[in-house]
């Protein structure tokens, strides 16, 4: 017993030394932490719940890795106001039940001050009622608008959301079409909630941008050959074609467009904004234009853009640590952590105070995904401009506009 206490104490000493060397003005706080053997009382508890395995692993893994990396960095720098972050992470295995259980555990057993996570919209929606019941602020990293807004358009009190709404990607595409004078448009979406949701938004807003759909249809997520569908599109001779889906099915449809020799601009959804799409679609991916977060084209942004340095720094840190390029999804987690950190810096560990800070005092915040303007009516705070339009040229992302 004595031995363990001693080694604990030694460990503490090392930590204090590390804290001292990084910043001297926090010395007082750090040494006060070492006076007690139990540091957890003085640390700030934070939960990260992501789909690091299972169907949504491609999204959840970089989110989990990002959060862990940032918490480690922050703690190595001496924590927030000298208080360490005690991060508990859960992998919900892309399963809603697991997500709910993890949330419950985080709130009732770990008693965290703030929760970040919910990789998919389904998981976020399943988890958020618990956060509301327990009155703990929850920052979601999934896309659906319902996450931060109830059916009647009210903001959910305890929930914030980092990514843009899917709807805003549709609006960004419509903006692009208008700017480029492409009015007669073919709309094709994948036959699932991702596709139909976007289709609805397209129907609502197309007229506002003077865009006239000449044909609107669906293809399944398991599509193998979309040429039959595309022969119909060809007959309508549209100015441009929008293919709204995720990587695999979009790749098939866009390959088929090229094979049929349909020589018109092809626009895709932000769901294909990964290098994997370029790999799967091959040469057919060239000249596809799509909206995406600015991470993919960070190097090409103008120097005056306040996001540029942030994006580059995040990308470099992530690549250095995990030896793979950073993804837009990881950036959501990074933004969530940055906002949580700002709140904790100002308010400490009280959940209610953290919530109020994010809603009322955060103000304009420049993050990786965009410039957030969170307020009482809008717990997401991004505008369609946070999407950049990119074009794939020779298998590389380049900035359009």
């Amino acid at each position: 017993m004595k031995k363990t206490l001693l080694s604990l104490f030694l460990l503490m000493g090392v930590l204090v030394l590390a804290a001292c060397s990084s910043s001297s003005d926090r010395k007082g706080d750090a040494s006060s932490a070492s006076s007690g053997t139990d540091t957890s009382g003085d640390s700030i508890k934070m939960a990260g719940i992501f789909s690091a395995s299972g169907g949504a692993a491609a999204l959840g893994e970089p989110e989990m890795q990002t959060l862990k990396m940032l918490v480690d960095q922050k703690n190595a720098d001496g924590g927030i106001n000298g208080r360490k972050i005690d991060l508990v992470t859960y992998d919900d295995k892309s399963d809603q039940n697991e997500a709910i259980l993890a949330m419950k555990k985080a709130l009732t057993q770990d008693k965290v001050s703030i929760v970040i996570g919910g990789t998919t919209s389904g998981n976020s929606l399943a988890m958020l009622p618990l956060a509301e019941q327990n009155q703990v602020p929850y920052i979601s990293v999934a896309a659906s608008k319902q996450i931060y807004m109830t059916e009647d358009g009210q903001a959910r009190k305890w929930v914030f959301k980092m990514p843009q709404d899917d709807q805003q990607a549709v609006e960004r595409i419509l903006q692009y079409l208008k700017e480029n004078d492409l009015t007669k448009v073919a709309w094709l979406n994948v036959a699932n909630s991702y596709g139909t949701g976007a289709h609805e938004e397209f129907g609502k807003h197309a007229a506002d941008y003077g865009v006239e759909p000449v044909i609107e249809d669906e293809f399944e997520a398991t599509v193998k050959d979309a040429k039959p569908l595309l022969t119909r599109v060809k007959k309508e001779s549209p100015d441009a074609i929008i293919v709204w889906g995720t990587v695999q099915e979009s790749a098939v449809v866009i390959k088929n467009i090229r094979e049929l020799g349909l020589d018109i601009p092809v626009l895709a959804s932000h769901g294909v904004a990964t290098d994997q799409f370029i790999e799967v679609a091959g040469a057919a991916a060239n000249d596809v234009v799509l909206p995406t977060g600015k991470l993919l084209v960070a190097d090409k942004l103008e120097d005056s853009n306040p996001q540029k340095e942030l994006l580059k720094a995040y990308n470099e840190a992530f690549t250095a640590k995990y030896n793979k390029p950073a993804s837009t999804f990881g950036a959501y987690a990074a933004d969530a952590f940055a906002i949580a950190t700002k709140a904790i810096e100002a308010k400490g560990s009280d959940s209610a105070a953290l919530r109020d800070y994010i809603e009322q005092e955060l103000g304009e915040y420049v993050g990786l995904t965009g410039v957030f303007n969170i307020n009482a009516d809008n717990h997401m705070g991004l505008s369609p401009d946070s999407f950049a339009m990119v074009r794939i040229v020779d298998g590389k992302w380049t900035l359009e506009d």
Binding site: G54, G55, A57, A58, A191, D217, E218, F219, E220, T222, V223, K224, D225, A226, K227, P228, L229, T231, R232, K234, K235, V247, Q248, A251, V252, E259, L260, G261, Q276, E279, V280, G282
Partner: protein
Amino acid sequence: MEIFSQMLQLLFSGLTIGAIYALIAVGFVIIYNVTGILNFAQGEFAMFGALISISLVKANLPLWLAIILSIVIVAAIGAVFERTAIHTARKSSMTTLIIITIGVSIAFRGIAILIWGTQAQTLPPFTDNTPIEFLEAVLLPQNLWAIGLSIVILIVMMYFFNYTFTGKSLTACVVNPFAARLMGINPNKMSLLAVVVSAGLGALAGTVIAPISGASYDMGMMLGIKAFVAAVVGGLTNAPAAIAGAFLIGIIEAFTEGLWSSGLKDVVSFSLLLLILFIKPEGLFAKASGKRV
């Protein structure tokens, strides 16, 4: 003229998809013929075939070798599957066996997630894939591969079942297992052979379709179901008829999608399945016989 080239385009698409269904449908028929089991893990063989060949190509093997190796590996997986899952439960009722195959298909998908993850991958086309223009419709060399291979398989199967001793033995096991045994045919061995051959065919189908539509862990299910429809439409006991059924389904789907709506193509093909089961359960191309499916 425009209408004509559109029809031709739809026909090409239908034939390609039909060819893929055909390769898997033949697997259904062979296993059903010999063991009486509907093997719902059939589509998963295609998935394994596609993903294994992709991995082998990534390991810098030449494409042709990767394809052959993946067919061999999948055939071996089929053998293990037959010995462990089917052979040990061969005394159980048919329903149990069918449910076993469904369970195995789910397990296969799980294994695929563990090995390859959930992301879509792709295989390079077998040969240079510049589209060929033909009467204003386009045809890809990869489509020709698909169609050509299934026609070759059709011929081989016809020859195998009608003119070779092993083929005849396989057929004999179905017509009358008891008499077959009296004639010195070992139904156990035949069952193993049937599963191995259909696993190999499934793998071939997978490698053919991977360059066209990409490959992922869940590609097998829909392929398997469609191939099953094709096999039933053709008559479950007759391999060439199943191939014809597969082309029919492929073409019907392409035309439904091209002239009507893509959402309806599954409705049409499944309605056809129900219609056939109600009206002509022995299959469209079955010769009149006393045996019912």
